[in-house]
């Protein structure tokens, strides 16, 4: 008996290890793992938005192509007990459609197709699709308390503010990996269509999208399961000696660095943010070519590129707050929770204190570039939006006067309707001080770009966009050149003109090819093609690829090269340069170009615990959840009847084996007489 049980135990041990091996070796025959771009969970002071799935979900692939398909989903599905994963065009991803599909109780996940080929634009798209709200970020803007706020985004469906408890993944074949995922899903979907969704086996998809954070930002920050949405803004000035009390007025030339969409990995934002950012770069380049250095002008020019703007003006509000409140460093000895190495001050934890040189009261005007790519504007002109025609009137006239032929600049209020400022960083400055002259330049007049904060904002007509942006940048550079000298008109030297080739390269680098030759001039990059323009999460001292380029480009244009005799002092890295110098494009450059923290103004760092807290619920408090690695895999399912037969056979097999063993045991006991 002892021998027998020993043998049995050994057998079960072998069996156990074998089961493990079989599981791992069988896995590739059962599942095909695919690269994923999920919609994820984000939180703010009052709740959460975005997608999550607390348990793994799976369903059979099912195609829905039109609005009618979605409305008839419940009637059309062939079986009433199976769960389905629907494959829909991205343009149909609206809160009401998701609700319709979910109400069938047969939906387990959604796969949204943004593009079917590497060249964006196919399948055909609706003329407008914006997952933003009708008035984006208005609750955090200048007009938050106004009774009748203008609706800048009338087509917005607020998809990005929807809390969704099913997984939603995107398909967009922009690189090799994503093209494989796209091909796999489409092949399996077409197989199901051929089988009419009835002839089993069918192809199914299994998702996992487990988000750790829950409830709201305060809760997940306390638990350490989310991080503030944000990054690094960049500001730069050609005035090396800018100080708070030099009495010179400041002109802010601004643009937004980040964009937003349903699927953060795919966030590009050609119109909204890239075009404005490129225009600002072109202006900085044009003004750097001025025969008389702009640093000698009676007014300072400060370029600001804000990050996290899509998330309640995180970058601009924090910048304005930081430069408008007196800075007091409480350098504490002992426990130090400031994660920045070599911080200029550990509480508040900052890289440098140079921002204190920008005196908020000296800011005279703000010039901002909104979306300016002219990708689907009806006219060819640009529009200048102002908050108030009296404070900004002369600035507006200056810009209108410098407008150029085909790409004229018109007063947005010229039709008699004063819509005030569209969503823009300028609102953050005016919120603090309404008397600052401000002008927001855009290619839209009465409503935002049709693909505002959408994954569809990915198409670029390089020729049109670069000539439009180049023209605007030249007009703006001339206006700023005059304005910085307090002039209303006059002849601007021909050198102050935007470089259209530079604009085209910048557009290409920012949208499709981050490893382009222009960026290679500044630093080496490998294999970075299309990069995400989502700001990502904030970390002290962290710098994204976009911020890095902005810093180097602006530092290069606004900095002063140290001369070693007649040639500039060359360098390979910053260590070869003197203190306070940077190594940009192989030369030592001294420049007042700095990074500035950008995360929701409602979030503060707790120096005691080393964690972020929600300190003001009325200000932006966006955070992004931590998650288990999301997955999407394809496998084959058999029909329910097949599965039942399998189960019954299994049970019968088990019962008969038990009976056989029992009989055998009794028989052996009798005949062998062991134990």
């Amino acid at each position: 008996m002892l021998l027998l049980s020993l043998l049995l135990c050994l057998a079960c041990h072998i069996h156990f290890t074998n089961a493990q091996d079989i599981a791992t070796s069988l896995y590739p025959y059962i599942y095909t793992d695919l690269g994923t771009w999920p919609c994820v969970r984000l939180l703010n002071a009052t709740g959460s938005v975005g997608c999550q799935s607390t348990s793994g979900t799976n369903g059979i692939l099912y195609q829905l192509n039109t609005q009618d398909d979605i409305e008839n989903f419940n009637q059309n599905i062939p079986t009433s007990w199976e769960q389905w994963v629907v494959v829909i065009p991205y343009g149909l991803l609206t809160p009401s459609n998701i609700q319709t599909l979910e109400s069938s109780k047969r939906l387990s996940g959604v796969i949204a197709i943004i593009n079917s080929t590497a060249t964006p634009g196919s399948p055909s798209r609706p003329s407008s699709y914006s997952p933003e709200s009708k008035c984006p970020n208005c609750e955090f803007g200048l007009y938050a308390n106004d009774a009748d706020q203008y609706t800048w985004n009338p087509n917005g469906n607020s998809m990005i503010y929807e809390p969704i408890n099913i997984p939603i993944f995107a398909l967009d074949p922009i690189d090799v990996l994503s093209a494989t995922a796209y091909r796999q899903i489409m092949e399996n979907l077409n197989y199901n269509i051929e089988q009419n969704y009835r002839n089993y086996p069918l192809r199914a998809v299994d998702f996992s999208l487990f988000m750790w954070a829950a409830v709201d930002s305060a809760t997940c920050l306390r638990r350490g399961w989310c991080f503030p949405v944000g990054g690094s803004s960049v500001y730069s000035t050609p005035s090396p000696n800018l100080t708070g009390n030099d009495g010179k007025p400041i002109i802010i030339v601004s643009a937004t660095m980040d964009s937003r969409s349903v699927f953060h990995d795919l966030t590009l934002g050609v119109e909204n943010d890239i075009s404005g950012m490129v225009a600002m770069f072109a202006v900085a380049d044009a003004l750097s070519k001025s025969p008389t250095s702009v640093a000698s002008f009676p007014k300072h020019i400060v370029y600001t590129l804000f990050n996290g703007e899509a998330w309640g003006y995180s970058g601009s509000q924090r910048f304005v707050n930081d430069i408008s409140t007196p800075f007091q460093c409480q350098n504490i000895t002992g426990t130090n929770t400031c994660p920045i190495k070599g911080a200029a001050c550990t509480q508040p934890c900052v890289r440098d204190t140079d921002f204190t040189n920008i005196n908020f009261d000296n800011i005279e005007s703000v010039v901002e570039f909104s979306s300016v790519a002219q990708s689907n504007a009806s006219g060819k002109g640009f529009w200048a939006h102002t908050d108030d025609s009296t404070t900004s009137g002369s600035l507006l006239q200056l810009f209108v006067g410098q407008g150029n032929g085909t790409y004229s600049i018109q007063d947005a209020a010229s039709d008699g309707v004063h819509r005030k400022l569209p969503p823009s960083s300028a609102q953050s400055f005016l919120k603090k001080k309404r008397s600052i002259a401000s002008i927001v330049l855009s290619d839209f007049h009465t409503s935002l770009d049709g693909y505002y904060h959408s994954d569809y904002d990915d198409t670029l007509d390089l020729a049109t966009a670069s000539s439009a942006i180049c023209s605007l940048a030249s007009s703006a550079a001339r206006s700023i050149w005059l304005s910085a000298q307090g002039l209303n008109n006059g002849t601007v030297p021909s050198q102050v003109t935007a470089d259209c080739n530079l604009v085209a390269s910048l557009l290409d680098c920012m949208t499709q090819n981050y490893s382009c030759s222009l960026i290679q001039q500044y630093y080496g990059v490998n294999n970075a093609a299309r990069i995400s323009h989502y700001s990502s999460v904030f970390s002290f001292g962290g710098v994204s690829l976009l911020s890095l380029f902005a810093f180097n480009f602006l530092g290069d244009k606004n900095g002063v090269r140290r001369m070693n005799g007649t040639s500039p002092a060359s360098c390979q890295s910053i260590t070869e340069c003197q203190a306070h110098e940077y190594c940009i494009r192989g030369t030592c450059v001294s420049t007042l170009t700095r990074y500035h923290d950008a995360y929701g103004a409602g979030i503060g760092y707790n120096y005691g615990t080393g964690l972020f807290d929600v300190i003001d619920e009325s200000a932006p408090t966006w955070t992004e959840s931590t998650w288990n690695p999301p997955s999407m895999r394809v496998y084959t399912v058999t029909s329910t009847r097949h599965q039942v037969v399998e189960l019954v056979i299994g049970i019968l097999w088990l019962v008969s084996s038990i009976i056989i063993v029992l009989y055998l045991k009794r028989y052996l006991k009798k005949t062998l007489k062991i134990a």
């Binding site: 607390t54 988000m211 829950a214």
Partner: protein, 98 residues
Amino acid sequence: MPSLDKMSGTEILSVGKKMFYGGFAFLPLLWLVNVIYLWPTLKRTDVPAQLRRYLIYSILGCLAWFIITTTWYALFVNKRVTWGATADRITVVIPKGV
């Protein structure tokens, strides 16, 4: 301990009493054991009638504990999220995603 059959009635009463008082040291399961273990001896004629009282008190105590702990459990499970930071502080392993 000798088996119950070999113990006298007074000895059984003393065991029942000790277990009853012992249960006050936050040991409701001891009360339960007391009842299950000694209840059959109530049929015996030599066991003092007081034992029944101790056993009934033990049942009641055990029930009271059951009600209190299940109510707390139900409250905690359902209200944990609304209690916020306080609940997180008394939770050993905070569940993710909820």
